[in-house]
Amino acid sequence: MKTVDVDRSLCDNHGQCAIAAPEVFRMNPDGVLEYEPTFDDSLLDVVEEAIDVCPVQAIFLKD
């Protein structure tokens, strides 16, 4: 398992991560990001895409 962290002081809830990696990130009905910090190694590629695509670069892999 791996861990991902979103810096909420930067996150602007654009939701691009939820498009790139819906397995880990999703927008709730109010348009606010919710996510699962730990994820299976098999999702690393899509999580890295989510990290790349974030317009404000608020997502970080831990360790």
């Binding site: 498009i19 927008m27 317009p55």
Partner: protein, 399 residues
């Protein structure tokens, strides 16, 4: 709509003399978070723009643009109705997932030396004269040649690309129907161009941007040839005029703020900040259009399904409620602007635009001291995407 408790301002946003940076708009923003317009409502303040821009209750508002202009078929119509700007839901997300990796900031970074070389080459050509027509001599060739670099086509072909992009851009103007034949011919020519590029990269894939698009796959899914072609035309359509206009507006902003220009010349590492500050205070995309997908109430306002909602970028980026010192300040800490839109439709190419402009501006600042207007500037209206079409400037060559 509900009965307003205060007088809701009215803005005629189709009037060619309507000005974003005006007393009228500042007064409206002070009185109310939104204004009524001749075409939907306009959202004026930062917090409300930020929330509505990303609201799931609104979708992109331009899907019906050709139909509104009496255009119901043809090459442009087919391209427009299938392009990422107007697609929604999973149709949009699927294409976006396949396009995104080619626009990764990690890959764009590799192009920085090319951007720097290009900026210096363009400046070299006019610096000794102490004046230039900034759009013709810098902003337009820079914006277009960045695209040719990205697409991996000879930079010498930039005038043709610029002409085709501008012609397709006529489709967004009020004279769209009258210009339809020209627009159709330009789309056809861009298609030929795109098809050739796609065929070439499919046969000889490399590490370049177009190859990445051609090879992009996700869960066994790929972009079809038609989708690739559509995306390349979108890149040219969306990437050229916007960057050209934004560079012109940047020059205007710095002419108005000479101490900021001097600071940028001294500290080129502020290039990225300069782009953010210019786009916050003087964006080319003056509003982002959304449409209500269902009836809903936001704050005190009932918004009926189908209502057009214009989210004003410059007005929100200089809103005193969010920016107590709204003036351009390269050393200030400011909340993010919405000059690249936001939400699921956030500009796809923003890393490219940010990277190329943040190289261009410090190089210009370091070589052109004291830029000033010398007369003869011509401007697009403030409605839609604005900026100078002609910007003669004088300066003192430096270094």
């Amino acid at each position: 709509m509900s009965t307003p408790t205060v007088d809701i301002p009215y803005l005629n946003i189709s009037d060619p003399s309507f000005a974003m940076q005006s007393e009228e708009l500042r007064n409206a923003r002070e009185a109310s978070w939104y204004a009524r317009t001749n075409y939907g409502i306009a959202v004026l303040r930062y917090d409300e723009v930020s929330k509505l821009l990303k609201s799931p209750k609104l979708k992109q508002g331009s899907a019906q643009w050709p139909a509104h202009n009496g255009v119901h078929g043809g090459l442009f119509y087919d391209w427009w109705t299938k392009n990422l700007l107007v697609l929604e839901g999973e149709d949009h997300h699927r294409i976006r997932r396949l396009l995104n990796p080619a626009f990764s900031p990690r890959l764009i970074k590799d192009l920085v030396p090319r951007f720097q070389a290009l900026a210096n080459e363009l400046i070299d050509a006019f610096i000794d004269q102490g004046e230039c027509e900034f759009i013709r001599d810098f902003a337009e060739p820079y914006a277009t040649r960045v695209l040719t670099i990205l697409l991996g086509i000879p930079e010498s072909e930039w005038p043709k690309i610029a002409r085709l992009a501008s012609t397709v851009g006529l489709a967004l103007g009020v004279t769209f129907k009258r210009d339809l034949d020209k627009v159709e011919a330009a789309v056809a020519e861009l298609y030929e161009y795109a098809d050739e590029l796609i065929k070439d990269r499919q046969a000889n894939p490399g590490e370049d941007f177009v190859s990445r698009l051609v090879l992009a796959s996700r869960d066994g899914d790929r972009l079809s040839d038609e989708e690739l072609r559509n995306a390349l035309v979108l890149l040219i359509f969306g990437g050229m005029d916007t960057t050209r206009n934004q560079l012109g507006l940047a020059m205007q902003s710095f002419i108005r703020n000479p101490e900021q220009w001097a600071l940028l010349a001294e500290r080129p590492e502020l290039g990225a900040k300069a782009v953010e500050e210019v786009m916050r205070t003087n964006p080319t995309v003056t509003w982002v259009t959304r449409e209500a997908v269902e009836d809903f109430t936001y704050q005190d306002l009932f918004i009926a399904q189908g209502t057009t909602v214009h989210l004003f970028t410059q007005s929100s980026g200089t809103d005193p409620l969010a920016f107590p010192n709204p003036e351009m300040d390269l050393l200030g800490e400011h909340a993010p602007h919405y000059g690249f839109g936001g939400g699921v439709h956030h500009c796809l190419g923003h890393f490219v635009a940010r990277a190329d402009m943040s190289e261009a501006l410090p190089l210009l600042a370091s070589r052109l001291a004291d830029p000033h207007l010398i007369g003869g500037d011509e401007w697009l209206p403030d409605s839609g995407n604005t900026g100078p079409t002609r910007l003669p400037i004088g300066f003192t060559p430096r270094g």
